[in-house]
Symmetry: C2
Subunit: 432 residues, 2 copies
Amino acid sequence: MLFKEITIIDENLDAKENMVVGVTDDTITYIGDKLPENLSGYGRVYDGKNKILMTGLFNTHCHMPMTLLRGYAENLKLQEWLYDKIFPFEAKINNDDSYYASLLAIAEMVSTGTVSVTDMYAHMESNAKACADSGFKANISNGLMAFDDTPFIKNKNHLEEEACALKFKDSFNGRIKIDKSVHAVYTSNRKTVEDVACFAKENNSIVHIHLSETETEVKECLEKYGVTPVKYFYNAGLLDSHVVAAHCVCLTDEDMDILAKSGTFAVHNPISNLKLASGVADIPKMQEKGIKIALGTDGTASNNNLDLFEEIKMCALINKGVKLNPLSVSTKDVLRYATINGALAQRRYDCGALKVGNKADLIVLDTSSPSMQPVHNACNNLVYSASGRDVCLTMIDGKIVYENNEFKTIDIERAIYEVNKSASRIKKELCL
Amino acid sequence: MLFKEITIIDENLDAKENMVVGVTDDTITYIGDKLPENLSGYGRVYDGKNKILMTGLFNTHCHMPMTLLRGYAENLKLQEWLYDKIFPFEAKINNDDSYYASLLAIAEMVSTGTVSVTDMYAHMESNAKACADSGFKANISNGLMAFDDTPFIKNKNHLEEEACALKFKDSFNGRIKIDKSVHAVYTSNRKTVEDVACFAKENNSIVHIHLSETETEVKECLEKYGVTPVKYFYNAGLLDSHVVAAHCVCLTDEDMDILAKSGTFAVHNPISNLKLASGVADIPKMQEKGIKIALGTDGTASNNNLDLFEEIKMCALINKGVKLNPLSVSTKDVLRYATINGALAQRRYDCGALKVGNKADLIVLDTSSPSMQPVHNACNNLVYSASGRDVCLTMIDGKIVYENNEFKTIDIERAIYEVNKSASRIKKELCL
């Protein structure tokens, strides 16, 4: 495939007009301002007029099957929301429900420009399968919990992750990676966290965790363990591994120093943090400290959609408005969080930037909608004006998975039908 | 036109499934759960499967011609942004530029669910004409300024508003209203504000103003006049009239009491306030005090789009996240701000709600996109999941102005062409 006369966002996140980008198999093989000399090997030629081509986005914190719960419970206090609404519903979700709910989530993501997700949820094999089947990229874990003395090697969540790792190893062109996980400080005991830390170090694993999401979490951790959640995981040795930590809303200065030094990725989920009234992560300070920042949508129940362009805009806005500083979080900063930083968080070193030799994970945005005109600066329009709905083509590993409202790898009508059927059944089981 | 088997958001902002809504001429003439007995008089029948029908939205603070400046200048300090970038560009805008830039703004608004705007900008006759020509509703003013001793009856902005009022009076089915205005406390002298106050009282005018947008504005007003901007306008008698006050970010308790007592409409522009680092208006407290709240996008340079669904979501989110209270701003609260409160701010008493006898200002949203599925609660999806891009039909005074990506009253290609031509010319004149 050859994209011609197209505006690109290059690997430095600068916009360049009238460019040519060539894709061969699953790889970006040409970027230039002229047609390549050897045109054979490029099949379809794509007319780039009024289009922007950029790397696809990386959503580094999600719970895909929660699409089942979109709009199910709103404007409630956290405890009521969780214990009266979310948990009882989740307890009824089975593997099939989870598969189709993940498919719906993937459809939403690819149609709004996301090419890869870091996901944590039960039924992880079903969720990984949905990603594999739809050509999506994913780092999947299940959110390990440990409330009792069960030894780590018998921990159900750990075993499920290991079984999955075996199943998806060496297939799907490396698209599906199985991560380790610790759900959170408040859902695991110290011994198990230490065991995960050892296991992850030995196996060079990525570990996905929730971290310092609310004041309550930090307060309870201080009361129980005498340290902040960051210090708790640090002391347990977990931060020696490649850790992807969602939220990081309530951090002390010392916490930030630890995250920076340990190379932990902090995933900013600004919409979820506002909606659940958790607060606003101090992104400018975290960046200044050298913490690696990526972006996530969180699950649909706390957002309520998976359009990462909304997180991009929100990240750029909230950190200006709350800090009263219009210079906080530049256009390039936030685009970096959503692209290359996300790819690095997933340890996909050949992804996340428009660069020859990288995997062809590409999205095209149509600038002919009124919201995108005029284009003084394509990057500014991407951050402040665009919606994921402006995406008109999504390619993953060189394969088009979405184009002009059509899903090439997902039977969207079936997915919507199955999700609605599951939601109805569950509500019936809950006597609602 | 007869919408059948459609989910509606009724006048109480509750969702009802499988409803029938009839429109005759410019009016809603039937709402029921069965087909009306007398079907004659309703022409086209609209299949409402997977659709939500609701009143159109009211954007009560905008500067339409600023679409010319979309993405032109970002991440700058306010003074640099205004004096080095925005003002020099604006000085080059002529009437024709303004007409087409307004058309583009209107296209963006109708395609994202807005049926009416309260707009303040120079070249107001061109802007009003763009609204008239495109079937849009608008309350237009030009942002009166008064820096010297010119008597009010010779004030250029006042005279332009009066000339426009005469021109648009009694035409276009009342769609185009000409408001009075005071740009802001820092761009007018006390004598002129008093004269506007007298004039507005005598003529029963609506007055559109900017109010307490930033700490700097409040501080300078206190230094110069010894009172807050709210008190300043109150003392000048302006708040005796029907005032629509944009921003209201920095208010004292006494300010809020004055706004509540005077019946002033406070227009919340959350995205603009974040982007320009002005801060976050205390909407929960303002609502508690009884202030009437509406929503606005502000101009494109400080947003950067005119999709009021983004303001709806942002309003619901920001007031939870900053107040650390998930109960702040309910789904119904924010839908009320964007609909009936906006219509009342524009003194359109037969608009803003799905009600027999009201003007047929209607929008239809398609719920078949992945972001809108499943629909546990249509109102929740509208607030937290929807994008203006889900709007598939917009009707104003019974006339369809937009349907399925087609503009019925605007030559969108021409508008985009002209706006780009204007933007290029202006940048050339500025030697950029």
